[in-house]
Subunit: 339 residues, 2 copies
């Protein structure tokens, strides 16, 4: 009995040292950030919202932080990763439905003319998304997309797309979580697609991914086993006003922090700010053509459909006190493999 | 230094006693259940899915349990609580839109004829739900419904509806959570409605409520402040096949355990069972007209629209190895106020 007790006490001492040691050892939670207003805003926000007894304290259960993905937590140029996936899947779809071969936009995709593809309209893209992301079971989609993610490489860095996440934003995700925040991806990208890697890549479990979502249909196989079939039907368009709407549907709480990089994130940031107390609204400004890309206000890339950060959005940010993150000046490192 | 160390060790010993003491003190996790196949099935399921190294171990992140609400975790007779709320709100809506006064089904609601109301068709009910649950902001809805929940009383027990939860199911919720399961409500009831009290009543946070959901529209007030307006548009009908579809949309993982009580839960249980490994499927059978109600197979209440448990469902359960919970035989206590 006495021995067990001593054992427990030693265990306790060890636990004590571990917990308190960590608290004392806490150095810079955001080492890939240069000192400046952006880094300061994040640290100040965490400090005041976790200061028990302080006027801006947020109870742990309400600590929600929302992150756009494309252009905010990973590279979105020259084309959204999921669009690349869909375009590369078109030949498989055409093989199953040969009639599509001579119909636009599939004809252009098969031609391989990237310049023409960059000019696709939204209806063109929706046709491609509907054709390539539906008509299979959830499990079939998961298997195919996982295989693609494992083998596809970004043309510029020659790495898996899932390695092209921004190291500074990875640090923010971890820092917020270490302070009791639940981090959510709130993306215009496909919910089923992002959920495949969100845990591995961001430490965000699938149930904390809010994305553009197609419907599914519950069906029975011949052996009676049920399955969900992906339908070419949009349930949630998680862009623009769809972001706050999607947040309400999927989370039911207003975020205290929101991170975006384009006009598609504007409403999410406004909605976040409209709550009481301390709120953190941040926009990543892509102004670093050496280390990544530059396509912010007054810069522009040929394909402005991706991640449009207009002068009007910049002005709104300044007026409303949102923090604009300069990749060039605020980020010491862009990728984890940069060093 | 030495003193701090001793302090730490004493703290440690205290923590040790707390943690291990609790483990030793663990007696019956389900005291309101009589011994029998239902109680045994729950305990066996938890045991095998949390047995690290065992063949049926489920990693903590995948431990999802889904609970229907009406008739499964609380009373649904003689009418779903939310329908009562909507019916009682009709006069307010008619005051704002007097034209509705002479139109069915509003005319019948205003007449107060409960018997006629019990015969409402689904389209009738949808008209009432659409009229009473939309056209206001989320915050307006929350304030009104909260006020109602605080004051409304069930006609039989003369208590707030939120007290009419089943004590045995409350124990299952806690028992599963104590074993690393995340518990979700997956209800045909309104998501916005159930989220108002889910944390207080079930210990389930709003983001773990999947329910029938109407759309919202992002709008700006005159002062520029944004808000979400509840729309009379169905986004997710979380009944029947809508339950597995809703689970995929909102959680993105297949549950390991699912609890229901009616044909509206059939597909959720099938979908749960279709996964690998150990799965727990349970149906509450209302066969206790003394302590609650009896409306299972071959019993029937006049209003069979509520919680229909057909003979066919009973047969499917038996055939597939789902566990039918007899309220009469399996539950020692029904309500926490019963003793």
């Amino acid at each position: 009995m006495k021995r067990i007790m001593m054992n427990g006490m030693m265990r306790g001492a060890f636990l004590f040292l571990l917990v308190f040691g960590q608290a004392y050892a806490q150095t810079d939670p955001l080492p890939s950030w240069n000192d400046g207003p952006a880094k300061k805003a994040i640290i100040e926000f965490v400090k005041v919202t976790t200061d028990k007894g302080g006027p801006k304290f947020v109870p742990p259960e309400a600590r929600i932080a929302a992150f756009d993905q494309d252009g905010t937590t990973w590279v979105e140029q020259p084309m959204y990763t999921q669009i690349v996936y869909c375009l590369e899947r078109v030949p498989v779809v055409v093989k199953a439905k040969p009639d599509l071969k001579n119909i636009e936009p599939f004809k252009t995709v098969l031609s391989g003319n990237r310049e023409a593809m960059a000019k696709f309209t939204m209806p063109d893209l929706y046709m491609i998304l509907a054709a390539t992301l539906s008509g299979m079971t959830i499990e079939e989609f998961q298997a195919e997309a996982t295989k693609w993610l494992d083998t596809a490489r970004d043309p510029r860095w020659k790495r898996p797309y899932t390695e092209l996440t921004y190291q500074p934003m990875q640090e923010v995700l971890k820092y917020l979580r270490a302070n009791g925040y639940r981090t959510y991806i709130v993306t215009g990208g496909g919910q089923d697609f992002v959920r495949l890697y969100s845990d591995r890549v961001y430490g965000i479990p699938p149930e904390q991914v809010v994305g553009t979502a197609g419907g599914t249909k519950y069906r029975y196989a011949k052996d009676g086993k049920p399955y969900l079939l992906k339908e070419p039907k949009m349930l949630l368009n998680d862009n623009d006003a769809g972001k706050p709407e999607g947040i309400h549907l999927m989370i039911g709480r207003r975020p205290y922090a929101a991170f975006g990089n384009s006009i598609g994130d504007k409403q999410m940031l406004e909605y976040t700010q409209a709550g009481d107390g301390a709120r953190l609204m941040m926009l990543v400004h892509h102004d670093d053509d050496k280390r990544e890309y530059a396509y912010g206000p007054a810069q522009g890339l040929p394909n402005t459909r991706v991640g449009t950060f207009t002068q009007a959005l910049y002005d709104e940010a300044k007026k409303k006190g949102w923090t604009v993150i300069s990749m060039k000046n605020d980020w010491k490192t862009i990728f984890s493999f940069d060093k």
